[in-house]
Amino acid sequence: MSAPGAPGAFRTAAAKALKDPELRANFRRAMDGLMTKRAAMFADPAEWRDLRALGATIRQRAIANLPELLERLEEKCTGNGVQVRWAETTEEANAVVLEILRRHGATRVVKGKSMVSEEMHLNDFLEKHGIESLESDLGEYIIQLDGETPSHIIMPAIHKNRQQIARLFGRKIREARYTEDVDELTRIARRVLRRKFFEAEAGISGVNFAVAETGTLCLVENEGNGRMSTHVPPVHIALMGIEKVVERLEDVPPLYSLLTRSATGQAITTYFNMITGPRGPGEKDGPREVHLVILDNGRSRIFSDRELSATLRCIRCGACMNHCPVYTRVGGHAYDAVYPGPIGKILTPQTEGLGRRHDLAHASSLCGACGEVCPVGIPIAELLVRLRREAVRGDRSSAVLGAGEARSRLESLAWAAWAAAHRSPSLYRLMGLAATRLSRLLPARLPVLSRWTSVRETPRPARRTLHELVEREGVDNA
């Protein structure tokens, strides 16, 4: 068994997941449903093409002007009465959150869904410091009860089926009677959470879009827990990665539409929150204080590379996972990363380093299903190839974290030999001759191809190559 994050760890974890029929059925069923719903939402190819081009342009422009937009965002937020703090690392971000909570003597926190908080491992951190941090998104609540991490960025508990959740609730929630009825399970969670919203001294949320022009923090959700977390407790702390900024308010509607249709196949979500500041004088609700923590965590390094900066366009819809033939078979936990699936395969090696995580860049057949559905046009397959290249780079010219760390002498030699053989017509013909004439003398199971032939018949070269056939038939050479 490989250590987490060690090269080969993905393969080991994936192989284990593949042997779990219940897990595979849960993912397959859920992803099939999501793909069908999304397809229905983008039934008009021309509309999809135009909207996606617009979304890509908006995000590309935002990333191109990232420093300037972040400055403007800070200025606008501050003007709106939001207290803005910057964090380069997740440790710094955790410290900022803790400091704010301590200042208010908060010991109970409710959280809306936030992938940045997952990057920070915020719940564990707060718990170590004696603060209860309760997830209020139903999926997040379920996995927190079971001590798990999200297996999907939009549907964190998608790896579990109804029966598994029923057993979990029966085991962990005292007032719950055993039921497999979805509505009843939801009601059980709702009863627990309702109370917690009113007890909490602070609420924490993520941010879907932060508008530089107005300092508006947009929050997309379906359960109302986002609104409760950000409006009921007296203090609201919003967490965002630096890439979440957009230039103008008018950029939001197309991105919002792309997000909900791509993610869950919804035309619009049940709730869309636009947070502009704390409770104003004379206002009857809303938090007294609003804080915005802006986290880098390796993103500015990605920003510095023209091609790879496309990674930062992501609006976290999860469509790439839903359509990934690898993700749908192994699930999210096999990646051992905050962001699983295709977006995680390009993001994680860049933030955690190619030395440790280059295997993720290879965990793809490069089928391109992810890039095809990406609502902001991130060329994920191309970026995977770019990262594979950075991982085996022989020089020191790259800014990508861990570049060259996966280079091995044996593999480089093998590819050099491959290139030598394929740039020399005579050497190539010799190999063809050897393969066609000698392969029948080889055993049925070749050791070098053992992984291939364990489930497939050994591929047999033909008796004559195409080169020989064209020669025989007198096909023109020039």
Binding site: R11, A14, A15, L18, P325, V326, R329, V330, H362, S364, S365, L366, C367, G368, A369, G371, E382, V385, L387, R388, R389, E390, V392, S412, W415, A416, W418, A419, A421, H422, R423, P425, Y428, G432, A435, T436, L449, R451, W452, T453, S454, V455, R456, E457, P459, P461, A462, R464, T465, L466, H467, E468, L469, V470, E471, E473, V475, D476, N477, A478
Partner: protein
Amino acid sequence: MSLSEPGGRAKPEAVYYYGTCLMDLFFPEAGMAGIRLLRREGLRVVFPRGQTCCAQPAFNCGYHEEARAVARAQIALFPRPYPIVVPSGSCAAMMKHHYPALFEGDPFQEQAEAFASRVFELTQFLADVLEVELSDHGESVRVAWHPSCHSLREMGIAEEPKSLLAQLVNVERVPLIRERECCGFGGTFSVREPEISAAMVEDKATDVVSTGASLLLSGDGGCLLNIGGRLAARGDRVRPTHVAEFLWERTK
């Protein structure tokens, strides 16, 4: 000389044929069938003998220096302005879409781009440029069609092969349930991630068998080796066949 512009309808007098390394070794008859289909339309087909591999394996593994060396050798063999027809969506995509990027900033860039602009996948060329008319001489048969991912998503070829098959009156094409899903080949992916690749090809093989087809058709040798290899190991009798060979055998 009436050379075809991409998207144009003018028939060229001559075309280059890029056989690909997989066809060279594993599907030479299908490679020849592609040549025969083109010749039947009155074209002179040129097969430069020194051709080897489009360099996709090295490119996809991140060995771009090595890929450039091999790609440069291929490009040099196709100097005339003829269209370059490739019986593989994946190799065609490599040459059409990745060669320009591979030589970005290289003195060879212009030549690579000119080469790339002349690349066509075989069924695309037959359907869109030559607008071939096929008459079926074969017996009634049920087939399944598997589009390769690179053909579908990088070359944007979805309807062309189906439209060719639809011209064959005795051929019934039964769609796969997950037609657009990858078969799990992915070149070195199938060796680096054998367990996942095996799970993918297993699902694809099951999908193929459930159509009741006696032939599995595809335009890419990689997919055929992969799915065909699995079908054979399972003991299923569906025969993997390259679409070029199928089209030729039924219409010759």
